[in-house]
Assembly symmetry: C2
Homo-oligomer: 189 residues x 2
Amino acid sequence: MKELQERILADGQVIGNNILKVDAFLNHQIDPRFILRLGEELANRFQGQGVTKILTVEASGIAVAMAVGLYLGVPVVFAKKKQALTQEGDVYAAPVFSYTRKEHLEISVARCFLDSADVVLIIDDFLAHGEALAGMISLVAQAGGKLAGAGIVIEKKFQKGGDAIRATGVRVESLAAIERMSPGEVIFE
Amino acid sequence: MKELQERILADGQVIGNNILKVDAFLNHQIDPRFILRLGEELANRFQGQGVTKILTVEASGIAVAMAVGLYLGVPVVFAKKKQALTQEGDVYAAPVFSYTRKEHLEISVARCFLDSADVVLIIDDFLAHGEALAGMISLVAQAGGKLAGAGIVIEKKFQKGGDAIRATGVRVESLAAIERMSPGEVIFE
C-alpha cells in the first residue's frame, strides 16, 4: 500500500537493524482517518471469505482491528496479554515471547467469544518473528474455528515469521513488507 | 445515552457490588459500529472546544478514543502502561493504581506527542475511583497542555472518582452513570 510505505518513510524511525518505530501514527499516537484507510484495505483483501470475527491482541492491534471490523461489519475480539481479575478462568490461552519487551507473556481469549462456528480474521500491527500471530492461530485452533487468514499492517520479512506461517498454509496479507532496513533506510519488498 | 444503558442491561454482568463486566461489547469483544456511535456522542459533547488531541490509556480505551478522534479529526495518543524497549526515556509519567488488576502501574506518554499547544480531550472506557483519569490529567499538566475535559463511557458514580475530579474544575462527561449495582441489577443515575 503506497500511502503506508510513504508514511513509514516520512515518520518511521529505524533503531539498529531490527526495530522500526512508528509511534507517530500506529503504536503510540494514532492517526484515526489513516488507520481507517488501512482497515478498509485489509477488509477488501478478505472480502467474501465469510469472516464472522476479527481477532487481535492488545494494545496496538486494536485500532486497526476496529477499522477492519467496521468495514466487514463483524465483532472484534482482542486477546489479553495477562489475566486481569475480571477475566474468569474459562479461556483459551497461548504462550507468546515478546521480542520488543523481552518477556514471556500469555495471551488469552474468553471461550465465550470464539467458537467452532467462527471464521476468524486475525489482524495485527506488526509481524516479525511471528510469535503473536502463532499464538493467535493457536487460540483459533483451540476454539475449533476456521481461520480466514491474517492481515498485517507492517511485516518485517527479514525476521521470517510471516513466511514460516505461510508455509503452514495460512494466508497472510501485509500492507507493507520490509525486505531490510537500517537507520535512515527502509527497503520494501 | 439510552442505547448504552440498554446494552449494559442486556449484556453487562455485575460481579459483587463493584465490578461491571462488559466484555461482550467494550472490554474484550468490541462491537465496532456501536463503539463508533459512542465516539460520535462523546465528540458531540466536546465539539467546538478546539480539541487538538485525544489522550487515552491502553488497552480498552483505544477503540472508543479512535472513534472520537475520527469525528473530531484529531490524533489519538494512548498512554502506555509500562515502558517497552522501543519507548525511549523522554516521557511524561504518572503512577496509577489499578483496582481491577490490584497492582501499581506507571502510565507514560512520549514527550513528543503532547505539548503546551495541545488542547486535550481525555477518553476512557470506565471511570471508578478515578486513578487512571487523575494519571492522565497529570500527564497533560506535565506537558503544559490545556485540558478540554474527559469523556467516559461508563462512570461508576458510587466509587466517587468522577465527582472528586469534577470538584477540581475538570469537565467530566459520561455516557452512562451508574448510581448503584448488585448482581442482576444496575441502577442508572
